[in-house]
């Protein structure tokens, strides 16, 4: 299979580590290398802060010695033999584990064409000046939308990643990707009044899409900053909250995904493993893990174990269909025939962890504006609090929120919400027809949820 010189060079390094691990006594070996480059313009206090570049090359080595395993990682390519010796030594000193195996893939999968040449060129020595100029122009554009907005910090960055994996089963993996993105963090200051912190961010795979993405970030950021000004006291009641698309993950989906992870099921921290086929949410709730990602933000076609990524329905019509497995959780489950669903996540510097890489939540049939035309509800643009992913209890403060009275928004401060995730999934009374693509990997609508405790401070 043809490979680029960069891939060939990385594979040679990985082969060196693999051979060293075998020579040290490993029965199975998985080597992963993440090579990355980035160029970042930092913003602080409404000004350019710094321009910085970084190149990194990290190796991770997972070994099996009999029924024992070990993992070691380094960013020193000259120390791969020592890395192999360390991983094997860790394995030898660990207690044996019944059923232990490594994901020893045997096929080759190479997808090295995902790098936008414009981004790649800007990552070279001449790219810093143009990127800094674009960052400052973006900063000025954001502040030009409303001079009360203060950009406390932010950044505009370009990066490329090259991941290579080699298995003692004979297989190899290679993927290259690049992205450009920006983030803004700050608040509005109007005289003596300081608004709540807010942030916005986006990222794209193509340089041609960056300007539009940055414009969107600036407009949303400024809108959220200024909406937090003039906040008054809220009301305490039990009732309706409205969750915009960019807060749905923090409040509901992130903890739900933890509960859908096979490791948490095995650890007793989630009961959802026993509820496959059960109605866990309202019938309009359909959640899908999008596997290799959306067409305009493709992900590596393989996961951290080297397993192929594919779409996986998690909740369909409110019914729980699947939970997420990586290779380790598949064999640790003890269920005969249980295979990885391709959801091992993580960098070369760590062992895999179960998780979703790309999500979509099905759109509803009501415009967001209709959902917001509630008689009395609290809008939750940002949630600062705690969700206990075992009990499902959540409580926290509403940031930049508003009390909606007959659809009219009244900014509020010092208002908190409390409830339970399991109950909230059954109390969704509306899903917006509009969806937002967030950071390239989450396509989400806004939600309306009933029966939540709302406390004014």
């Amino acid at each position: 299979m043809p490979t680029s010189p960069e891939t060939t060079a990385l594979l040679a390094r990985c082969a060196e580590a693999l051979d060293a691990a075998r020579a040290a006594g490993a029965d199975d070996v998985e080597v992963i290398a993440d090579a990355s480059r980035s160029l970042t313009v930092g913003l602080q206090n409404n000004d350019l802060e710094s321009l910085r570049s970084e190149e990194d090359l990290v190796f991770g080595l997972r070994v099996r010695v009999g029924a024992r395993s070990g993992f070691a990682t380094t960013n020193q390519p000259a120390e791969l033999r020592a890395l192999a010796a360390e991983a094997v030594a860790l394995a030898r000193q660990s207690p044996p584990e019944e059923g232990l195996r490594l994901p020893t893939f045997a096929d080759a999968l190479i997808d090295d064409d995902g790098v936008d040449p414009v981004i790649e060129a800007l990552l070279g020595p001449a790219g810093g000046g143009p990127l800094a100029a674009q960052a400052v122009a973006w900063l000025q554009a954001a502040r030009g939308l409303d001079p009360r907005v203060v950009v406390d910090s932010g950044e505009l960055s370009l990066s490329s990643t090259h991941r290579v994996m080699l298995s003692s089963g004979g297989g190899l993996r290679s993927w290259r990707g690049a992205e450009a993105g920006g983030s803004l963090i700050g608040m509005a200051v109007d005289g003596a009044e300081i608004g709540s912190f807010t942030w916005d961010a986006d990222r794209v795979r193509a340089a041609s899409a960056l300007e539009g993405a940055l414009d969107g970030v600036a407009r949303r950021f400024v809108g959220k900053c200024t909406a937090a000004l003039g906040a008054g006291r809220g009301e305490s009641f039990r009732g309706t909250i409205l969750i915009p698309a960019d807060c749905v993950s923090d409040l509901l989906l992130d903890p739900l995904l933890e509960l859908l992870s096979a490791d948490r099921v095995r650890q007793g921290k989630s009961t959802l493993g026993q509820r496959l086929g059960a109605q866990i949410a309202v019938p309009d709730f359909t959640l899908t893990e999008e596997g290799p990602g959306f067409s305009n933000f493709a992900l590596a076609p393989f996961d951290r174990d080297g397993a192929h990524r594919a779409r996986l329905p998690l909740v369909e019509g409110g019914v729980l269909r699947h939970i997420l497995y990586d290779d380790t959780e598949a064999w640790r489950s003890g269920r005969p025939g249980q295979r990885s669903t391709g959801h091992g996540q993580g960098a070369a510097s760590s062992t895999p962890a179960v998780g979703a890489a790309c999500l979509s939540l099905a759109a509803g049939d009501q415009p967001w504006s209709t959902l917001c035309a509630a008689q009395r509800a609290v809008l939750v643009p940002r949630f600062a609090g705690t969700v206990d992913p075992t009990s499902g209890d959540f409580s926290g403060v509403v940031k930049g929120g508003a009390l909606l009275i007959d659809g009219e928004a009244h900014p509020i401060a010092e208002v908190s919400v409390a409830g339970n995730l399991y109950a909230a999934l059954q109390a969704i009374s509306g899903i917006s027809a509009e969806r937002c693509l967030l950071m390239g990997t989450s396509l989400l609508p806004g939600l309306r949820v009933e029966d939540v405790s709302i406390t004014a401070g």
């Binding site: 313009v41 570049s53 000046g129 406390d152 912190f197 650890q267 401070g457």
Partner: protein, 470 residues
């Protein structure tokens, strides 16, 4: 291939100062981190990980702007290339910066070799594996309703060499062990997980100031107790905060708002120096040393700009007296640097971060504070928290116990608590003699992680519980 020793790397950095241009500030920082993590759960070792990461971060202040580059190779040639790149970044973006930076004025910088106590203490892998297996089994066996328990032990060893063109030339060695024990209780389909953790700077004697077996029992007991416990009612209430929650309060509510980079953007602390912002019972400091008790998790003898650590007083007897600074912000405010510039790894540029943040102990006794509370809550167990520019803080509490007529009620589930920082500190009416560091595990996040600690005495104040409504 053998890596160069720390003194040899310091010498490479000192030799590389030859590339500093007249008028520029050149900052070179080698950082080697070695992390070992072990996790045991339900009788098996689930995770055994060794991670090393090292390299040199280069910051150049040229043309009024910072440029930063880094290299994983601590060789003279690689450091020279990184200096060239960092200077090019500074000069290439300097024309775009509105407010040109001047080099910070001369200050006392660290020269010599610094290390925390017990930095060379070693424990075998077998000993550490036995520890995590034993503690996970102890938590699992602590109660019949515990269905799963785990223990994670982490040890981070850090070696730095810091050299600047205006005089810093030092090495710093640290070790930070950390232990976390988690237990899950199950009854009639209900699940409750609780965790307890410790984190320190130093050897095991610093980490295990409390018996870790008791910690395992506490995690298990709390998980069982809270299985069927109700959620407290939401609303404003008088509360007594345990030392870990006092740590969260001072870190989230005050500490972030007095970091001078935030102060310059505009926070509730901006322009309030000399004003009364808290009860006279409150004196709040941030220190690179471990005061009152050994082993605080955020201890740093020297910061990542080469400034020796100090103890910075933020609030003295209720009056706001200072902010937390790096060299640049200190110059802007006309004060001495406080040693708060910290970077997570060689590839990170230093930011203004807290270290060990605490409220000074007072004169009260916890028992008397409870007896003197007619209606309120005893809150214990720190969870995550957040700060805001407005001074509105939020943090999670593991467990609440109602106080009625000076008597403690049964445990109830934890909630998030919130308030406006300075308003809440004004309500402090009792501060206990007890003192503990209790936030040394986990990390503070501000673009990059940082190991911090926080703590203090028990403290009584008034804030809002984000609890249930009828």
């Amino acid at each position: 291939m053998t890596a160069p020793s720390l003194p040899a790397i310091r010498q490479i950095l000192e030799d590389s100062l030859q590339y500093a241009n007249e008028g520029d500030l050149l900052e070179l920082r080698y950082h080697h981190k070695a992390l070992r993590t072990l996790t045991a759960r339900d009788g098996r070792l689930e995770r055994s990980l060794s991670r090393t990461r090292s390299g040199v971060g280069v910051r150049v202040l040229a043309g009024g702007t910072w440029g930063f580059a880094c290299t994983s190779e601590a060789s003279p040639a690689a450091v020279a290339r990184a200096i060239t790149a960092a200077r090019a970044h500074a000069l290439g973006s300097a024309a775009l910066r509105r407010d040109r930076r001047a080099p910070p004025p001369p200050t006392r910088l660290a020269v010599g070799d610094f290390a925390v106590d017990d930095v060379d203490e070693q424990h075998s892998l077998d000993e550490r594996i036995a520890l995590v297996l034993r503690l996970a089994a102890h938590a699992r066996g602590a109660h019949a309703k515990i269905c799963s328990a785990s223990t994670t032990f982490t040890e981070l060893r850090s070696e730095k060499a810091i050299v600047t063109s205006d005089g810093a030339a030092c090495t710093v060695r640290l070790v930070r062990p950390e232990l976390s024990i988690s237990a899950v209780a199950e009854d009639h389909g209900q699940r409750m997980a609780q965790a307890e953790s410790l984190g320190a700077t130093g050897g095991w004697s610093c980490l295990f100031v409390r018996d870790p077996a008791q910690l395992a029992e506490k995690a298990a007991r709390r998980a069982v107790e809270l299985l069927d416990a109700p959620v407290p009612a939401g609303g404003r209430a008088q509360v007594i905060l345990s030392p870990d929650l006092v740590g969260l309060l001072v870190h989230e509510a005050i500490g972030h708002t007095v970091e001078a980079d935030f102060v310059q953007s505009g926070t509730v602390a901006t322009g309030k120096l000399g004003e009364r912002v808290a009860s006279p019972l409150v004196t709040l400091r941030d220190s690179g040393a471990s005061v009152h008790a050994a082993g605080a998790g955020g201890t740093e003898p020297v910061d990542d700009e080469g400034v020796p650590s100090t103890t910075a007083t933020i609030i003295e007897d209720g009056v706001l007296t200072g902010y937390l600074h790096n060299r640049e912000s200190a110059a802007r405010f006309g004060v001495a640097p406080t040693g708060n510039a910290r970077a997570w790894e060689f590839s990170d540029a230093p930011l203004i971060r807290m270290r060990n943040t605490y409220i000074e102990p007072g004169e009260s006794e916890l028992g008397a504070m409870i007896e003197g509370t007619p209606e309120g809550w005893l809150l214990e167990g720190a969870r995550n928290g957040q700060a805001d520019s407005t001074g509105e803080f939020t943090f999670g509490v593991a467990q609440a116990r109602q106080i009625q007529g000076g008597k403690l009620g049964p445990p109830m589930r934890g909630v998030t608590v919130t308030g406006l920082a300075f308003d809440v500190l004004q309500t402090v009416d009792a501060v206990s003699r007890e003192f503990a560091w209790d936030l040394g595990s986990g990390h503070c996040g501000k673009g990059q992680p940082a190991k911090v600690d926080a703590g203090g005495p028990y403290l009584r104040c008034t804030l809002t519980l984000a609890g249930a409504q009828a």
